[in-house]
Symmetry: C2
Subunit: 242 residues, 2 copies
DNA sequence: GACTTGAGTTGGTTA
DNA sequence: TAACCAAGTCAAGTC
């Protein structure tokens, strides 16, 4: 990893064109030549970047005043670059050009391999909890199976309600319109099967957008808000019973 | 901006739990205390981070050997931390804890305000070009309007073809299944209006996934590939005529 | 390898 | 402020 702190300007050309005016920023260059430009602004996303695989060409302009003056453009506000980084994508014509002016730091450190991040618990967890606590969709309900396979993909949970009717459940962390569309496709398909029909649909999520709720209810689906902490608590109290 | 290069381990607890084992990494701490942890892996996304607004507590363990030995846990592989960074989110209970072992660099630099990124050319641009060059959907077509309002949201472009039939156009940079669903909803709604029906649907994008194309054509929609550069070129040659 | 879906998504626009 | 939608999305899993 190479870390540069410098006043710079940058131009990106690829799926879009984007430019960064002259300012002081932090530039990270990884071992694979991918390049990230940060300011104090924003969250974890860099202002501009080049993804690997890519190649980096570095031109030092300090020795060649003629070339150096050529490199000045209208965005430099009269400043003179001392270095140009040209980062080219290998699989496309994307280019990121960074001009460096005053370099405050330029340090390198070999980080070596990273063991990587260990994650635990997202949508999968919601599905697991609801499968374990299937009566949250109605007393007397029974689980058929998680990831119930169909021709157009797996239904998150299939269950049977107290009246013996099949229930297809679509689970999302946040329920939007496309989740309702997904549930619609499943129910449409499942209801074509005379052995399964009638199949009810339940749209279950931690949060559901108003538009999605309206659409879901309009299509006869029930909306179910899932409380992650409550479900987690229920799991624990279940465990303490034994 | 503060830049630390050090061997470290980290724990995040929030919407998920995630942990980073002992390894050398780069840690950026912005002026707003938001914190990013990078390795040579991955693209622009840090391995772990804390978004602003948040607070940072820094504990130096070098003076207190008792505390220091307490801070050793099973993931440290026998190493002894010299510093702990505790980053707490202000609006939730999210916590990121970073333990530092050997610190190679710890530098700070005030970057100041950033003028920000200037972008050009995304979906909005595609919509603008197609509106200007509406005959790309068929000779004799006329533009009705961009962002044609309906009860379920604006249709990207409404037009009338050479036969006087209404045409609803959904534009995407990349056309996937949900784009087809979107177009389906619009056409369904618009065709309920006796003043508008029959309304044709066109699915226009720079790229269209095979599944989306199949679904779109199955529903009677035309698929139109948009060439950004060609449309941009057409705009320019239009201009040079005058 | 192409495609689909989720993400601690982030970020911008509009009602 | 809340909801909705696009992103140079990225990344993981599946076919």
């Amino acid at each position: 990893m190479r870390i540069i702190v410098a006043t710079c300007s940058a131009e990106y050309s690829g799926r879009l064109n984007a430019s960064l005016p002259y300012a002081k920023r932090v530039i990270l260059i990884k071992a694979d030549c991918s390049c990230l430009i940060f300011s104090e602004l924003g969250s974890y996303k860099p202002l501009n970047w080049m993804a690997a695989p890519c190649t980096l060409k570095e031109r030092d302009l300090s020795a060649d005043e003629a070339e150096r003056s050529e490199a000045i453009d209208v965005n430099d506000e009269g400043h003179t670059p001392c270095k140009i980084l040209d980062v080219h994508a290998q699989k496309s014509s994307d280019v990121l050009t960074v001009k460096l002016y005053d370099v405050e730091y330029d340090i390198s450190s070999d980080l070596g391999l990273d063991p990587g991040l260990v994650k635990e618990g997202v949508e999968d967890q919601l599905q697991r909890y609801l499968a374990e606590q299937i009566e949250r969709i109605g007393q007397g309900s029974r689980l058929v199976r998680r990831e119930y396979p169909t021709a157009i993909g797996p239904v998150d949970i299939m269950a049977v309600d107290s009246e013996g009717h099949n229930v297809a459940i679509e689970i999302k962390r946040h329920g939007g319109i496309d989740g309702v569309e997904q549930l619609t496709r499943y129910c449409e398909l499942l209801n074509r099967d005379p052995l399964l029909t009638p199949v009810r649909g339940i749209f279950a999520a931690q949060t559901i957008s108003p538009q999605a709720r309206t659409l879901a209810e309009d299509r006869g689906f029930e909306c179910l808000i899932l409380d992650y902490d409550e479900m987690k608590g229920t799991e624990n109290s279940d465990l303490t019973l034994f």
